[in-house]
Amino acid sequence: MDASAPVPIPPARPRRRSFLRIAGVSSAALLSGVGAPGTAEAGYTGERVPGDYPFRLGVASGDPAEDGFVLWTRLAPEPLAADGHGGMPPAPFDVRWEVAEDEGFRRVVRRGSARATPELAHAVHPRVRGLRPGRPYFYRFAAGDHISPAGRVRTTAARGTTPGAFTFATASCQAWYQGWFGAYRHLVADDPEMVFFLGDYIYEYAITADRLWRRGADPGAGHDRETVTLEEYRVRYSLFKSDPDLQAAHAATAFVVTPDDHEVQNNYGADTSRYGTPPEDFALRRAVAYRALYENTPLPEAALPAGGPDARLHRRLTVGDLASFHVLDTRQYRDPGAPGGDILGPDQERWLLDGLRRSGARWNLLAQQVAVMRVGDDRVDQWDGFPAARQRLLDTFADPAVANPVVLTGDTHRAIAGELRADFADPDSPVVGTELVTSSIASDGDGAETDEQAAEWTRHPWVRFYHARRGYTLCRLTPDGLTADYRSVPYVEADAGAPVSTVARFVTEAGRPGPERVG
């Protein structure tokens, strides 16, 4: 895509406040960088955007619907500036955006402006609506005289229609310091219509010399402390997002992002830190961590904490009548003290289980973080630590009203395929679903085909595949089946140039739960 395409974005014009009121643009919308779709709202200050180029963190789209999507960029001429503001001054700036049907931006169909404010580290999240379903669009931003790279995104198929096929990928766990993100190059070449990012977009750990396995990389000073403050989380996102392959992936397709633990702190649950931080303190850390997550990813506005530490991260996306994707948050509402453990919290669990029964889609896919299948009693951070909640989920999967449940999982840094049994305590119980665990993009470095954790997983008859190298999972969904290709790279530490191969292919046939290996 050509960043210097022939049709320039028109300059912003200052608008009066009264226009905002007439246009129904709330102050909350301005403060969250959402702006008003299709309008050019106020916010232009006349101040020149500093630096030689403000789009160094790239562009992104997220949460596509049949009529639109979320767009994202963040003005940051100096992404690693220590104060977390990316080299921007403490003033608002207009960011203009346009969406076109063609790569050359000759057929612009939507155009607007969003205010980039220092409160959100000059990130904007315009929600574009009014588009046609099931077709590709191109988008770009402008700030001052600068034009961003162009991105590509597809609207989803309309409800009431069933597309013949839908291709998506799952990815997770991108510890920048443990490897290059070369896997994303291959993901882009595979051209999925959507990427479900299943957690650990950043890691909070201090980046010290012994942790820096990304050969030839030098993050510079100031990263050798665990992230706790908002400015530290902001800079950490900037560091990770400086990877060109990650930026290219975001520009190539929509990301549906859901966080796991490392966006805040290792293995946290609700307001409980495993490192002894009191809950009233931990809530403050979680609030700034969620804020930085929102600022740096194409999440919908509800994901921005307001007036407290909570963010609405669970949500549902549909692809026509083919698929319903239930995006989960298995961190924020954990309650290990509930009888049998509660990993989703009562409200989200009710939302999920009701949604599964009522979705009306041919396939129901859960995009979530930690392994649902049984692995071991000491795996308390996974669904193993919440057996009652897991059983309620499996009981729902067994309900004939729930069509073709599949769980998409991250977290483990391993590629794993497994059956979900109706009752893991009963080896003869029927298979009620498929679980596809994607490996990491870079976390844990090169890895190996097998490793010391393999036996703990593969001792179970429901585990059908285990592979401990880095990569992602490419899925092709049709009304008849889900084909999952485990895409793997042999190394990530040396450079980003590793080739990719499909190390296993599994098919789950509609009406017949469980993955069958076909390649």
């Binding site: 403490p90 490192y275 403050l284 700034v288």
Partner: protein
């Protein structure tokens, strides 16, 4: 507009000063609080005087050494927008450590580092091999770098056999002390969630059960709490010991970790108070 920090209080203790203040409202969102420190005068709110940043409404200014020292502070609220509030000020003086007295016995230096000990900074996996029967350290004969490990394990530590571990410190006195001596135990870090408890005894007489403060669970991997951006959370235990438990000749001080996980040594000793 960023608020001025309210209700700022500073309290000194051994080798550290604790600052606390009132949490700012959720809106406008706070990025962090910046804490500036200086000796002898109020600090400038500039990078050279920055003691640390925190998102919590409290901050411990640590590794201040065994002597009593006075520090002055200014704390500033920094909002998500980058806007900064006006600084609030406070001062406090640390409590002098028993370690400033005349040592009757001491192992290690009270310097916020534990690098002089055996297995330091991260060799705990070799603990059971090197110290299968615990520690029996004889002052003047034994050496910290070979005979006193940097970690004192507890019953929660699988790598140390999941059992209680007793460390014995033997030392000679020409005469029993007349006044109560002071016991000083400084740690570079402790386990965050199960720092545990330990029984302190002198010459077989139990003095007390010590309850350790939670640290950062990082001291098993590194041992210098003075390093900039250190994740370590140092702590200390100091208390007077009854003079009548000591005797002329050989004395035995024992510390047995009876609950929880490890603590990481900075130094341990008994001092005559002067």
């Amino acid at each position: 507009m960023a608020q001025t920090v309210r209700e700022l209080r500073a309290t000194g203790r051994v080798a550290a000063i604790d600052l606390r203040w009132e949490r700012a409202p959720w809106e406008p969102p706070v990025d962090h609080y910046a804490v500036y420190a200086a000796r002898g005068r109020a600090p400038e709110t500039e990078p050279g005087a920055l003691a640390g940043k925190t998102v919590y409404p409290h901050f411990t200014h640590g590794v201040l050494g065994p002597e009593a020292v006075t520090w002055h502070y200014r704390v500033v609220t920094v909002l998500a927008s980058g806007e900064r509030g006006r600084a609030a000020g406070a001062s406090a003086t640390t409590v002098a450590s028993y370690a400033t007295g005349r040592p009757l016995v001491a192992v290690g230096s009270f310097d916020h580092k534990g690098l002089e000990f055996a297995l330091a900074p991260n060799g705990n996996a070799r603990y059971l091999t090197a110290f299968p029967a615990g520690v029996d350290y004889r002052d003047g004969v034994s050496r910290p770098e070979t005979d006193w490990p940097y970690l004192h394990p507890g019953p929660a530590d699988q790598w140390a056999g999941r059992r209680a571990h007793r460390f014995t410190l033997r030392f000679e006195l020409d005469a029993a002390p007349v006044a109560d001596p002071g016991f000083a135990l400084w740690m570079t870090d402790t386990h965050a969630t199960i720092p545990g408890r330990g029984v302190l005894a002198v010459n077989g007489r139990k003095i007390t059960t010590l309850t350790f403060e939670g640290g950062a669970t990082k001291g098993s991997l590194e041992g210098d709490a003075t390093r900039p951006n250190t994740p370590l959370v140092p702590s200390s235990v100091e208390l007077p010991l009854p003079a009548d438990v000591f005797r002329a000749g050989e004395n035995l001080l024992t510390l047995e970790k009876t609950e929880g996980s490890w603590h990481a040594y900075d130094a341990i000793g008994v001092f005559a108070r002067e």
